[in-house]
Amino acid sequence: MKHLRLGVLAALFTAVAAVLTAADAKLMIALMPKAKGNAYFITVKAGAEKAAKELNVELLFDGPTDSNAAKQNEIVENWITLGVDVIAVAAENKEGLSTALRKAQKAGTKVITYDADALPDARTYFVNQATPEGIAYGLTDEAARLMNGEGEFAVITATLTAGNQREWVKLIEARLKSTYPKLKLIAVRPSDDLKDKAQSEATALMSANPNLKLLMAICTPGTPGAAEAVKQAGKAGQVKVIGLGLPSENRRYVHDGVTESVMLWNTADLGYLTIYAADALAKDQLKAGATSFKAGALGTFEIKGDNILLGKPVIFNKANIDQFEF
C-alpha cells in the first residue's frame, strides 16, 4: 500500500515536471493593451494570435478594462512574478509605466512597446504603428484639404493625459504653424474613450462655436461619437468629421455623408509584427543597429533607431471603405 502511494506520487511528480519543462520550452510572450475592451486592441490581439500560432509561442493577453495607468503597473508586476519571457505593452502613461518596465528588465524580462511608447530606457524596441508625425500630419493634411485651408476646427481625444494623444496634439499644432496658418485649432476635449461622451462634447463644441467647420477625433470611439452629434444637429456637410477609427464602426456615417474620412493603420498587422519582434528579441535575433526586420508573411519592415516602423496609415472614405471588413 505504502509503495503504491509512493509510486503514484512519483508518477505525479514526473508528470508535473514534464508539464513544467514543456511550458519552459515554449516562449511566453505577454501582450498588454491600453484597454482590453477596446475594439482596436481586439484586432491587434487577433493579429498577435496569428503570429503566436505561426511561431509556436504562448501568448498572454491582459490589460485594464478601461484606460487605467495604475492597473497597467499592477499587471506588469504580476507578469514579472510569473516569469514571462517578453512583455509587450501599449503604455497608457509614459512616465508612470516606465518604472515598472525597468524593474521587469532588471528581472531579466525583455520589454518592447507597441502602439504607445514608454521612455526609451524602459524598453528595447518600440513597434511604431505609424510615426506620430505620420498620424498627426496625415490628419491635419486631410483636415486642411476638406476645409480648403482655412477655418476653425476642434479635436476630440481619449484622455488629456494619455502620452500619445498629447504628442499628436502637439504635432498637429506644429503642422498648423508651419503649413496651414489659416487653420485654427480652437479646442481639445477629452472623451474618456466613450462614444457617448464624445457625442456630448461634440454637441457642445458645435453650439459654442458656430463657425466650426470640422471635428477631428484622435481616438477610435470619438469618431462615431462626433458623427452622431453632427447628424443629430443636422449639420452633415457643414461640420465635417474625420478621425481615427475602424471601418466597421464608421461605415454607416461615411455612407450617410456625415463622416468624410477615417484613418487607421492595419491593426491586425500591428499585433502580428509586435509578436514577431518580441519573439526575435527573446531569441537574440534582433541585433542593435539593424535597419530592417522580416516578420513572417508580412515581409520586411524598416527599423529607424529603436523604432520598428509599421508603415503609412490607410485612409478610408466613401470610395474604399467597403473593401475593409475589420
Binding site: 475592451g37 482596436y40 457617448d196 453650439s207
Partner: protein, 309 residues
C-alpha cells in the same frame, strides 16, 4: 426650509450656473443642442433614481456601470437579431432586474457588505462582457434608433420617460408606506425590524429595482444611436453616486430625496458643456466636479457635527 437646506442649496447653485451661462454664453441655450445633451443624461437620471433609493437604504451598488453595459449589449444583440422593440425593452429591464436580484440576494440574503459584493459583480460582469463581446460595437437595424420615430420626437419620449420615472419614484418614496420603509431601514434597521418592517426584504427589493432601472436606462441609451459600444456605462457608477451625494442623500443612509439627486445630476452634467461654451480648458472639468462633490460632503459633515451624535 432648514430641513431641505441641502436640496435647496444645490438647486440654487444650479440656477446660478444657468444664470451665469445665460449672461456669458447665451448660445448654451440653443434648443437643439440642449435637447441632445439633456437626452444623453436621461438614462443617467434613471440610474441615479435607483441609486438614491439604494443609498437611502444604507447600501451602495458600484456595479451599475457594468450592469448598464451588459443590458445594453444584450438588448443590442437581440435587436440585431430582429426581435421586436417592445420585447427587447422587456428583455433589457428583465435582465437588469435579474442582475440586481443577484446583488440583492448576496447583500440581503447572505448579509455581505454591499460595497464588496457589488465590486465583485462589477468586475465579473465587465470582464464577462469583454470576453463575450471582445470590444466590438454592435450595429443596430435601422428602425431601432429613436424607436423608429423622428429624432426630436424620440428625444422627447426619452426625456419625458425619465422625468416620469423620477416623479413616480419621488412621490412613492415620500408618500407610500413602501417608500417610508426604505428610510426606516436606512436610518436604523433594528428599529425598523421592531416596528414590523422586514429590513432584508426591503434591501433586496431596492437592489432589484435599481437593476431594473439600470436595464431601462441601458435600452434608453441604445436607442440614441445606430450602434452600441460595449464600454458604454464605464464610470457610470461614479457619475450617479456623485449626483446622489451632491444632491443631499446621506451616504450613511436614511436621509435625502430624489429631487436633490436630480439637481445634483444636472449640476454635475452642466460642468463639461459650460466649460466648452466659456472656452475654458478641459483640464478643469474633473477638478470642478471633484470640488463640487467635496463641498457637498463637507457640508454634510459640518451639519452632522452641529446636530450632535
Amino acid at each position: 426650509m432648514k430641513r431641505h437646506f441641502r436640496e435647496l442649496s444645490v438647486t440654487a447653485t444650479l440656477l446660478l450656473v444657468l444664470l451665469g451661462m445665460a449672461v456669458f454664453a447665451p448660445a448654451f441655450f440653443q434648443p437643439q443642442p440642449l435637447l441632445s445633451l439633456v437626452t444623453r443624461e436621461a438614462p443617467t437620471l434613471i440610474v441615479a433614481c435607483g441609486m438614491a433609493l439604494v443609498i437611502i437604504c444604507r447600501q451602495i451598488d458600484i456595479s451599475v456601470g457594468s450592469q448598464f453595459s451588459v443590458c445594453g449589449i444584450g438588448a443590442g444583440l437581440l435587436a440585431a437579431r430582429g426581435w421586436p422593440l417592445p420585447l427587447v425593452i422587456g428583455a433589457a429591464v428583465g435582465l437588469g432586474a435579474v442582475l440586481g436580484a443577484i446583488n440583492g440576494w448576496l447583500v440581503a440574503g447572505l448579509r455581505l457588505p454591499s460595497i464588496v459584493v457589488t465590486l465583485a459583480t462589477m468586475v465579473t460582469l465587465r470582464q464577462g462582457l469583454n470576453l463575450g463581446q471582445q470590444g466590438a460595437f454592435v450595429n443596430l437595424p435601422d428602425k431601432v434608433q429613436w424607436f423608429g420615430l423622428n429624432q426630436s420626437a424620440g428625444q422627447w419620449v426619452l426625456v419625458l420617460c425619465s422625468l416620469a420615472v423620477l416623479a413616480t419614484l419621488g412621490l412613492a418614496l415620500r408618500h407610500w408606506p413602501a417608500g417610508r420603509q426604505v428610510y426606516a431601514v436606512g436610518s436604523n434597521a433594528e428599529a425598523a425590524r421592531l416596528a414590523g418592517i422586514r429590513p432584508q426584504w426591503v434591501t433586496f427589493l431596492v437592489f432589484v429595482l435599481l437593476g431594473a432601472l439600470t436595464g431601462l436606462a441601458a435600452i434608453m441609451n441604445v436607442v440614441q444611436s445606430p450602434q452600441v459600444q460595449p464600454l458604454a456605462g464605464a464610470g457610470l457608477e461614479l457619475k450617479v453616486i456623485a449626483a446622489v451625494v451632491v444632491g443631499g442623500v446621506a451616504i450613511a443612509g436614511g436621509r435625502g430625496n430624489l429631487w436633490g439627486a436630480f439637481a445634483g445630476l444636472l449640476l454635475l452634467a452642466c460642468v463639461s458643456p459650460a466649460l466648452t461654451h466659456l472656452h475654458i480648458e478641459a483640464y478643469w472639468e474633473k477638478a470642478i466636479q471633484g470640488a463640487i462633490i467635496l463641498l457637498a460632503v463637507v457640508a454634510d459633515g459640518v451639519r452632522q457635527r452641529r446636530s450632535g451624535p
